[in-house]
């Protein structure tokens, strides 16, 4: 077996080294001692033809090797716990440690999802309270905690809207309108729900173009999905007219609430007239992102849609808290998860909510918006700002002038930020902005950090003029340099070969 990574020897002192794979570390006979051996006749009840024929080629390692492998791999990662992570649209705020502690409490972790309600009163109370508190925050009537992520929340919401129209005999409403600035999950959700996606162009100020929207609306429109604040970091200023137009057309309004971190306690979508929304607990409510997940995307809705929320919800009666019984709310769209949701994530979000209270949440948004506007002003010293301010929790900048003048692209700026010790912002998203950088500092960063980041961005801009090749060659100090993504896609190697 060849190990392509540089030998561990050359790199640890210099920072984390690339690691061999588990398969490469495997040695026959290693491992064991975790569980007792079964009696030799344990599997006699299983007919031979139902038994595994191929050898079980999992790697064989002992615990020291496993720990060292993953500890070293972990150090190859950039993380919020180690540095500033201004990934726009993702709200990479700090994840309080007491929440992690809470989610690991034995009483929470060991509860089986099919436990009778009487055994689950602690978690049920927590979920009940969380449902109520999220409803209050959204200005909505009812909440389902089932969806595992924002995208699943969207799917849930669109299916609810469909069920609503159908219940009214409005079977033809199958179109879902999304602005071209919307998050990719919005159109993808519409397709997944069997709807036709209608994309509408944004106005030059970044908001929805009301005229274009009005033209798109019609008797086949089921819903308009609006991210607000938008993925450009802008509050939708024409929102009153917009919602009026939607409802007048007989359609419902879905709000992608993934960006609620900007407007907690300032704006409640339900008050404004949205019919249904989701919240991203892994953004606004600080549950960690886990290298890609898990998160949670609860759906909150107004009265007229409550009947369609997926079951089971948590309800309270004389005997205490309980899950809705099968069939109890027959109009429900059905489950979207096998069980009650990403409960471990809900525990963290509940802890966050209780730690903040109303005033605290409002402060979160104030600080997030203030940080974004401050950073926006500073970044504007060296980059284009395609839209006017103020922004909300994030803002769009562009390296278009840099590209024009020096050939240095947004991608290069991002990679060079790595050499400066920062995680790059989101780049080339939203798709509608040229050489786009989407920057979200969050409220948990200090002004010192914002300044250091701004200095780095401005230094890179200067460097682009002085030594563009250096920027284009970045990163030079990361564990690896730029990757050959093209051949990865051309000849996908998605696993190690199983012959070890």
């Amino acid at each position: 077996m060849t190990i392509d990574a540089p030998p561990a020897a050359t790199a640890r002192g210099a920072g984390p080294a690339l690691q061999p794979t588990l398969a490469e570390l495997s040695r026959p006979g290693r491992g064991g001692g975790k569980v007792p051996h079964p009696p030799s006749d344990a599997l006699d009840g299983i007919p031979t033809e139902l038994r595994r024929a191929s050898p079980l080629g999992l790697p064989e390692l002992n615990e020291p090797a496993v720990i060292r492998h993953f500890v070293n791999l972990s150090q190859l990662n950039y993380s919020v716990d180690a540095g500033f992570y201004p990934l726009g649209s993702c709200t990479m705020k700090f994840n309080p440690k007491v929440n992690e502690w809470a989610a690991r409490l034995h009483g929470f972790t060991q509860l089986h999802p099919l436990s009778p309600d009487q055994l689950a009163q602690g978690t049920l109370e927590l979920m009940f309270d969380l449902q109520s508190e999220l409803a209050e925050i959204g200005g909505m009537t009812a909440v389902s905690l089932q969806p595992a992520a924002g995208a699943q929340g969207e799917l849930t919401g669109i299916l609810m809207i469909r069920a609503y129209h159908q219940a009214r005999g409005d079977d033809d409403r199958r179109d879902v309108i999304v602005p071209d600035s919307s998050h990719g999950t919005n159109p993808a959700t519409a397709s997944m729900a069997g709807a036709r996606t209608v994309t509408v162009r944004s106005a030059p100020d970044g908001g929805v173009d009301l005229e274009v929207l009005r033209r798109a609306l019609g008797p086949t429109t089921a819903a308009v999905m609006l991210t607000n604040p938008s993925t450009l970091g802008l509050f939708e200023r024409r929102i009153e007219a917009l919602l009026e137009a939607v409802h007048q057309a007989g359609a419902l309004a879905y709000m992608d609430g993934a960006n609620m971190n900007a407007v907690l306690g300032r704006f409640r979508p339900g008050d404004a007239g949205f019919d249904v929304m989701h919240l991203n607990l892994h953004k606004t409510f600080s549950t960690p992102h886990g290298g890609g997940g898990p998160g949670a995307g609860p759906v909150a809705c107004a009265d007229r849609l409550a009947a369609y929320l997926p079951g089971p919800l948590v309800v309270r009666d004389e005997a205490g808290y309980r899950l809705e019984r099968p069939g109890e709310r027959p109009t429900a769209i059905g489950r979207v998860r096998a069980y009650q949701g990403n409960v471990g994530v809900l525990v963290r979000a509940y802890a966050y909510l209780r730690a903040h209270g109303a005033a605290g949440l409002r402060e979160v948004s104030e600080d997030a918006v203030l940080a974004a506007n401050y950073l926006r002003a500073r970044i504007g010293e060296g980059y284009q700002l395609p839209f006017g301010g103020p922004c909300k929790h994030e803002f769009v900048a562009s390296a278009s002038a840099l590209r024009r003048d020096t050939g240095v692209r947004t991608l290069d700026v991002a990679k060079r930020l790595i050499d400066h010790g920062f995680h790059p912002p989101t780049i080339y998203f939203p798709l509608i902005v040229d050489e786009c950088l989407l920057i979200e500092p969050t409220e948990t960063e200090s002004v010192d950090t914002l300044d250091a980041f701004a200095e780095a961005m401005l230094a890179i801009a200067r460097e682009a003029y002085e030594d563009p090749d250096r920027v284009k060659a970045a990163p030079s100090s990361a564990p690896v340099r730029r990757l050959d993504e093209a051949s990865a896609a051309r000849q996908p190697r998605l696993r190690w070969s199983s012959a070890r």
């Binding site: 299983i46 055994l119 069920a163 199958r174 929102i239 404004a272 892994h282 990757l483």
Partner: protein, 436 residues
């Protein structure tokens, strides 16, 4: 910062919210200090009853989780990172996903594994949609003996429009009726995109997957297996019996039950269907200096690139759970995993003997691994009486199969390597007492 912006109140930054829409003060409980919060959460956690002897499985299992797993998933470098968009500073996450893909490929015998879905049910639903996309057909056949919740979720995902899901019956032995499958495949309700069976199925019974796969393939349908990953240490794999897709719940691989999630939706498929699979894929490549490295690949299937044409809307997934599974498999190893599977089977046979001896015989004749149904007169009341005595006697089936007379007095019970002989004896003895 206000000064630098030349404003004197942060309110200025919120003037873009129309006045009529500004929120009133939120009505939420008062903020708690960390000390108070910890007390509140401890109290809630202690209100759950997790001290019973439990024989409840039904898709979620109490397995021993080696301490190494929690040490790794508790590392901030892993759990406070996000999607590895910048591979140069995300090789930790990327390599562990690649390793996850490799391990699950080894376990299932299917070479292409996505980086995770929300749970076993959502993975099953995605598998059904995938079959629809791959075949251009609109009808799914699913055994009634896959977990009820998985059927529900799949039905929800298929929606109400053109796609349709038909259930296949099971015989008295608990096995899916393959004659009925054959008939359904030929029926004029339309060509079938995919056939879904569970192994072990929702009654714990082992299906004839090879035969079912053969029937599906003969009708041009894809065959989708819903699997339990630990069983694959000893049971024939989807790859062996010719499944095109397999979906399953990865919770048994080092993830605590925690009342339903976060879990790990496993989804795997063949090379042929590689470009149809939804969700993240990580592949091996090189950097400019020729060093091996890992990167997200085949991204053109994903929502942020393809928008309404994406293979799925999935974005945030269950990556940390995939890391838990990877760490679990690396720690427990092939021999350990076989021991876990076989010890569960051995304990289950002890359980069967003990329950039968006190008058609670199995319902189905089909073979099983570590979970099975027993008949107990007045199952619901007996279940409650046992609860009062500190025993969680599995799942009463009447609630989930209200129309099935065979199951009306059924309890689905399971054993794992964590089940002790003492617990089994106490269960049997208490059952005898309660039934008397």
């Amino acid at each position: 910062m206000l000064g630098a912006l030349g404003i004197d109140s942060v309110d200025v930054l919120f003037e873009d919210i129309p006045a009529a829409m500004r929120a009133r003060d939120l009505d939420l409980p008062d903020a708690l200090t960390e000390l108070e919060l910890a007390a509140r959460l401890s109290e809630l956690a202690s209100r759950n009853r997790v001290d019973l002897d439990s024989f409840l499985g039904a898709g979620v299992y109490h397995h021993y989780i080696p301490a190494a797993v929690d040490q790794i998933v508790s590392r901030g470098e892993f759990y406070t990172a996000y999607t590895p968009y910048q591979p140069e500073i995300s090789q930790g996450t990327l390599q562990t996903i690649y390793e996850y893909q490799s391990l699950i490929a080894e376990l299932t015998g299917l070479p292409v594994v996505s980086a995770s879905h929300y749970d076993g049910a959502a993975a099953t639903a995605e598998a059904a949609l995938m079959a629809v996309r791959a075949t251009g057909r609109e009808r799914i056949l699913a055994s009634r003996a896959i977990h009820r919740q998985y059927l529900d979720v799949t039905r929800t995902y298929l929606g109400d429009a053109t796609l349709r899901l038909d259930e296949l019956p099971t015989g008295p032995d608990g096995v899916t009726d393959l004659a009925a499958l054959e008939t359904a495949l030929l029926s004029d309700a339309g060509p079938v995109a995919g056939v879904i069976l569970g192994q072990p199925n929702a009654f714990g019974v082992l299906e004839s997957m090879t035969d079912a796969a053969g029937l599906a393939h003969r009708a041009g349908a894809l065959f989708i297996a819903v699997i339990e990953p630990i069983s694959l240490a000893v049971l024939s794999t989807p790859g062996e019996y010719g499944a095109d897709i397999c979906a399953g719940e990865g919770q048994p691989l080092g993830i605590a039950p925690q009342y339903g999630g976060p879990y790990l939706g496993i989804l795997a498929t063949t090379e042929a269907l590689m470009r149809q699979i939804p969700g993240r894929l990580v592949g091996e490549t090189r950097d400019l200096d020729g060093r091996r490295a890992f990167v997200m690949t085949l991204r053109a299937r994903e929502q942020d690139i393809r928008r309404e044409k994406a293979a799925s809307n999935i974005c945030t997934n269950q990556a940390l759970c995939a890391l838990a599974a990877t760490t679990y498999l690396a720690t427990i190893g092939p021999h350990g995993l076989r021991d876990v599977a076989a010890l569960g089977a051995a304990r289950a046979r002890e359980l069967e003997r003990a329950l039968e001896a006190v008058g609670a015989p199995r319902i189905h004749a089909g073979s099983y691994l570590n979970e099975f149904c027993v008949r107990v007169p007045h199952a619901q009341q007996v279940h409650q009486a046992l609860l009062d005595r500190g025993i969680l006697a599995g799942l009463p089936l009447a609630r989930w199969y209200p129309d099935d007379a065979q199951l009306s007095d059924g309890l689905l019970v399971c054993a794992t390597e964590t089940t002790t002989l003492g617990q089994i004896e106490r269960f049997a003895a208490t059952l005898r007492e309660v039934m008397a």
